[in-house]
Amino acid sequence: MNKIVSKEYLSPNVVKFEVEAPLIAKARKAGHFVIVRVGEKGERIPLTIADANTEKGTITLIVQKIGLSTSKLCELNEGDCITDLVGPLGKATHIDNFGTVVCACGGVGTAPMLPIAEAMKKAGNHVITVLAARTKELIILEEQMRKFSDEVIIMTDDGSYGNKGLVTDGVEMVIKRQKVDLCVTIGPAIMMKFVSELTKRYDIPTIASLNTIMVDGTGMCGACRISVGGKTKFVCVDGPEFDAHQVDFDEMLIRLNGYKDIEREQLHKISPNN
């Protein structure tokens, strides 16, 4: 049982929680995630540790409502408890002074990007963040990102804020303008696929943080497996970050939809009109 000490809406569907978890706060590094479960019949879902406060013994989670379990979590309030929370899981991000680092994130990929941008900045990199969303309301964490970035480029599909265009347009703009040593991308699989294809053309090393379906998060089930360079890898223990140019994104897209029909049905549990 982990108590929620604060809750804040970052956008109508994105909630930021600060949760008591002193041991995890102490042990975590950028790139790590936790598995949470809400309720006795709850599902185990992975969430990135966006930030931690070792003095208060808390970790920050940023959750986007997309289905049953994320909705249940977002219904919890300050003072409520998360039934189960375990971590830190996965491998920490390889942080180094690479030079210029482009952080390309879309939608909820922004939350897991935050600690990485912070760590990259602290390691002495010139950090350029490309923040993308469909429309202005869906841009989250802009202010926090600005704190850890030398430059933030906003992209919206409809042009309602920042530049009009996709995340890839923003990244390409930077690449054409200056030398980029590393690109980190987190977001929907389809977005990461296109970012990866773009940077491959320019021969820029690229890391993608993969958000596959998980169950245990400890290497025990294989639900999270994907192909990297033709080899099967478990995202929860071998990742979640991989060389994007080696990842089979098409396979990942298919696997993400593996339980789609059942998930859609389950949403009726909370809102019968869905």
């Binding site: 039934t83 025990m220 294989g222 298919i254």
Partner: protein
């Protein structure tokens, strides 16, 4: 230690033994375990298949044991339970005494009576087999005595020695960790058991289905340990949430690793990452740990109509029988050798067949095909035949060149073995590990290459059995206690 012969010569035993001629004892037919009807049970998720012996049945079966002077069955039991003594206690109606006898050696008799491969262990050494008779149903009797004790509310909390004010840790709550924790608590240690998952029990909880091992039995064991003062910490991964060094800093005197062999193996064949193909660990974890078949549960599970399970072990049988219960019209076992070589318990194979599971032996998948959505639709099987016996004495399967079969499937569960959990071996410097990733221990004491770390169960043996894991946990408790006492 108990002196088998002295006990055998106690007046009550002698009298009981002489009350019936061995020949008459041997003429009694072996008891048949009452079972749920196969048709009924293949549609019910959680009801246990075996219903247990009635006291009358147990009494009759106990008479079959002739109380041998040299009880070979005991040698067949990996932990050397005093089998004749517990069986003769059943015969004289002292069921609680029988349970107590079991507990002299085993801390999980209700579990082992259900899941031990008795036909390869104690029952394989029974004297009856020498006279072409069926072995005494030792497993059924063990289960009877342990269940009787639990169901009549007579579980005795073992005596706990005066507190030593010394802390020890156990990592992993499978049978190895539970057994270790129980024995250390008895000796007066303060025991904290850390478990990565949100529930206690290891494979007993997330792997073996309720139709074979009901949760309430594992729960009873855990309640017992709590009553004995064992402290459980769930959602805590040693090596991640806290490290072995953190434990040392908190003044733990010794650490027992019982982290199991939880890593699923895949075959690395084409199409294996299609949707609908998963490890038996994933499938069973969804259904057992996450209760995914229950409409109330938020965890989804694919309920295939044509399900193939690859493998021939207990895990494969559990998966295929689960698939049947979840509504598979066709539930198949695909195994590359023949039924004789299957590692699964004989009873599970029998039960599976009664439930209409198809056995496709001498077949090995070599490729999977999917539809445009990436869902598996077919598997390509290579037909095999048995070749020469290999080093282990098993005849190894070889391909019949050019002979393949295409079979329609909508779900495939891969159950071709597990590997040791690498987390601890990787995160602790200086821990000696074998090429297979198991931990190296002194077989007497279960001490690893790092003196304060002991280990047992599947992390030492690779995928083994509940009884061996339990036995290891007890040995390690003894070993650690002696080691701690050697310097304090």
């Amino acid at each position: 230690m108990t002196n088998f012969n002295e006990e055998r010569m106690q007046p009550w035993r002698v009298e009981l033994r002489n009350s019936m001629k061995p020949k008459d004892r041997m003429e009694i037919a072996r008891v048949k375990m009452p079972e749920l009807d196969p048709e009924y049970r293949s549609h019910t998720m959680k009801e246990e298949v075996n219903l247990g012996l009635t006291p009358e049945m147990a009494l009759m079966e106990s008479k079959r044991c002739i109380d041998c002077a040299n009880p070979t069955c005991v040698q067949g039991c990996p932990v050397a339970i005093n089998i004749p003594k517990f069986i003769k206690n059943i015969e004289r109606g002292e069921f609680l005494e029988a349970a107590k006898t079991l507990k002299e050696t085993s801390v999980l008799p209700a579990v082992c009576g259900r899941v031990c491969p008795q036909e390869k262990q104690c029952e394989a050494q029974c004297i009856h087999l020498k006279t072409k008779n069926e072995a005494v149903a030792i497993g059924h009797l063990e289960r009877f005595a342990a269940d009787y004790e639990r169901e009549t509310g007579n579980i005795s909390i073992p005596e706990i020695a005066a507190p030593l004010h010394k802390k020890v840790a156990a990592v992993g709550s499978g049978p190895a960790g539970l057994a270790f924790a129980g024995d250390m608590a008895k000796m007066g240690y303060e025991v904290v058991l850390f478990e990565a998952l949100h529930e206690i029990g290891g494979v007993l909880r997330y792997g073996i289905p309720e139709f074979r091992l009901p949760n309430k039995i594992v729960d009873a064991e855990i309640r017992n340990l709590i009553a004995m003062g064992v402290h459980f910490v769930t959602n805590c991964i040693i090596g991640k949430t806290i490290t072995i060094d953190d434990l040392l800093a908190e003044d733990y005197k010794g650490i027992f690793i019982g982290s199991g062999a939880g890593l699923p193996r895949f075959m690395n064949i084409k199409g294996e990452n299609l949707v609908g193909i998963m490890s038996s660990n994933e499938y069973l974890t969804r259904v057992n740990l996450m209760d995914a078949a229950n409409p109330e549960s938020d965890t989804p599970v694919i309920k295939g109509k044509k399900v193939a399970v690859i493998g021939g072990g207990n895990t494969a049988m559990d998966a295929v029988r689960t698939a049947r219960r979840l509504g598979a019209e066709k539930a198949m076992i695909v195994y590359r050798r023949t039924e004789q070589e299957m590692p699964a318990r004989v009873e599970e194979i029998k039960h599976a067949k009664e439930e209409g599971i198809e056995f496709m032996t001498l077949r090995n998948p070599i490729e999977y095909y999917g539809d445009k959505n990436g869902r598996v639709t077919h598997m390509l099987l290579q037909v095999m035949e048995l070749g020469e016996p290999d080093a282990s004495g098993r005849r190894s399967p070889v391909e019949v060149k050019g002979k393949t079969e295409l079979v329609e499937v909508d779900e495939v569960i891969v159950s071709v073995g597990v590997s040791p959990n690498p987390l601890i071996p990787q995160s602790v410097k200086g821990l000696e590990v074998t090429g297979r990733g198991t931990l190296v221990v002194n077989e007497e004491t279960m001490q690893t290459s790092i003196p304060y770390i002991f280990a047992g169960g599947d992390i030492v043996r690779g995928g083994a059995t509940v009884i061996l894991a339990m036995g290891d946990g007890r040995k390690a408790a003894k070993g650690m206690n002696e080691w701690i006492r050697s310097f304090t």
